[in-house]
Symmetry: C2
Subunit: 153 residues, 2 copies
């Protein structure tokens, strides 16, 4: 399956998801791990499209999401950088572009290891709250946890 850049943009405008997870991780200085993730979910009848996208980005894993749903998931930094670089050159047309901008910034910050300090991570958590996919309540909790750590330190 040969995918053109414009087709990929259109499809991801519809079906793609730029998500940033924050999970507790006691061994890290700031206590949390940052997990940016690019994801496209499809019914298994269209699993060929997920494999096509994986070849297109040359990164990611095709895996089961839930029951009949499968997903392409990109989590590794090299893959995320590839995804970010593609959508910078080929902008999304829906409001998903706003999430993408924030996602791209967070990937950039991770590369710069900003998430390893409490101050840096706090800024990232605040920034991620503007995303459409954000779990706002959870992020608020993490934010106050980090503020607590800062005031103690």
């Amino acid at each position: 399956m040969d995918l053109s850049p414009d087709w990929v943009v259109g499809f991801v405008d519809g079906e793609g998801c730029f998500y940033v997870g924050f999970t507790e991780h006691p061994e890290m200085t700031a206590g949390y791990q940052v997990l940016p993730e690019f994801r496209v979910v499809q019914h298994k009848r269209d699993i060929h499209v997920l494999h096509g996208l994986k070849r297109f980005f040359r990164h990611g894993v095709v895996r089961q999401n839930h029951e009949d749903r499968w997903e392409l998931r990109v989590r590794k930094l090299d893959g995320l950088k590839q995804v970010v670089s593609f959508f910078r050159k080929h902008p999304l047309k829906t409001k998903k572009a706003v999430d993408f901008q924030k996602f791209a910034r967070i990937v950039y910050w991770m590369e710069k290891r900003k998430h390893l300090s409490i101050e840096g991570l706090l800024e990232m958590v605040k920034y991620a709250q503007g995303m459409n996919t954000a779990a706002s309540k959870r992020l608020k909790e993490i934010e106050s946890d980090l503020l607590g750590k800062l005031s103690k330190g």
Copy 2:
């Protein structure tokens, strides 16, 4: 907003719907009206994309679907012919292409006024049952109603 054909194909592969409705209509010979419909639904934050698609196809109506959801809907024969002609030239890549093929055949049959005879309509109802968007139970009911009319006639 300038949309390229490939972007439109990708977006419709994700978000488009090719639907054929059959509704009772006592004044028609066969007793049913055939309503093929091309539809793209979006959250209102992306209503600009629906207007972009409307300009792209030069047909259709942008209207509220449900609460925060809006839709571009193409129902008129001229518009449907335009949509069919576009996706014949620019094939969909997901299994939605199967629905599209059936949809296109039904639009063609309507143009040929096949739906005006009971035999013709019966064939269309049977054919539509293979569509992913089909309300199979309802179509089965219509099928047996038409078979009943045929045996009486």
